[in-house]
């Protein structure tokens, strides 16, 4: 069943079409939600909230872009709303916002790059505080600008930059700690002999 048929069926409140649309985009959207959530349960919660908005506002989809991109945008917004609710209880006050903009990134050797699996990267991301994770994911992964992130999160741009800087610092430290735990492998994927 094509996307157009799915859309028309969903607009007619056809449950089979709704289920088809849900299962078609389930994996991709769950992958998106996992970046913003602290756990699998939170990611599933965000996913269902996002799909509820998709089915509610499907009539407003004007078919200018891909349906997947439109649904992904809704998922990101649902994740941001969820994180904002969560971050209300997490009082993280930026210590110094007006310091020099030290957003230089560390560069990683390819061999180091290969030592990290996707699950390791996800765990590193989920270990960050909510606001740090949100800003880092929106900027580094989704490609949002500082102004867009500031308007979405209702914070100042300087605060956004500070969050990003602190997030990178934390990730670097934790990656170094993780590298000590992950065994080094040779080109054949075999663990190095001790």
């Amino acid at each position: 069943m094509g996307e157009q048929a799915l859309i028309e069926g969903c607009l007619r409140q056809d449950k089979r079409c709704q289920e088809g649309l849900y299962k078609h985009f389930y994996a991709d959207m769950l992958r998106v939600c996992l970046r913003y959530a602290k756990s699998q349960e939170e990611a599933l919660d965000i996913l269902n909230r996002g799909f509820l908005k998709v089915f509610t506002h499907l009539a407003s989809y004007n078919q200018t872009g891909a349906l997947g991109a439109w649904i992904r945008r809704i998922m990101v917004n649902a994740a941001i709303d969820f994180c904002r609710e969560k971050s209300a209880s997490e009082k993280v006050v930026p210590l110094c916002i007006e310091t020099e903009d030290d957003l230089s990134q560390a560069f990683i050797q390819p061999e180091i790059y290969s030592r990290f699996s996707s699950q390791d990267i996800l765990l590193l991301l989920q270990s960050l505080p909510t606001n740090y994770r949100l800003v880092f994911t929106l900027h580094a992964v989704e490609g949002y600008s500082y102004r867009e992130i500031a308007s979405v999160m209702d914070i100042k741009e300087n605060t956004c930059r500070w969050y990003l800087m602190e997030a990178r610092k934390l990730l670097q430290e934790r990656m170094k700690q993780l590298l000590l735990l992950i065994p080094q492998t040779n080109a054949y994927g075999q663990a190095a002999a001790l």
């Binding site: 996992l34 996707s118 670097q172």
Partner: protein, 177 residues
Amino acid sequence: MDKQPLYSIDTLFQQKLEELPVDASLQHEQWQSLRKSMYQQPNVFQSYLQKPVVKLLYMTVVALIPFAVYYFSHQQDVERKASPYIGNSVSRSLLLLNQASRPIPSNEPGVQKQVATRPPKKEASAVTIHTSIPDTGQALKATGSLPASGKDSAQTMPLKQEKPVVKKNDSSYIYWQ
């Protein structure tokens, strides 16, 4: 020897997260819970209460309650104060009205002053009768009562028998008549 590119943290995370494998075992269960929340029937009564007209109505009722309490409590005070004027005690209510009234100062001669006056003394009328009509018999006929000077004596002593009036033929008697 080709130089291998260096990866920034941003690039590392971006690429690794795109390749993240996802567990689809919970897909059906998640769809069932989503469908339940989508097609859940709302409570009819709660949806009725959410209407703006109904909200306005019960907010108005709630706002009027203090005024109603004040009105009815004040009404009871008025009735309590009015109780002396109602019922069988007409004279008592008249007394209260008289006590409540105040003298109205006025310079007009025609205005009757509402002043509590003493009843006229009976002694004055008895004295005048005594000087004008010396004969006690005539005084009795005129007033129907004993003169003041003889009042006490009449109470203690029996009535004296009056001498019958004797007509005299001299001229002086005529004048006195």
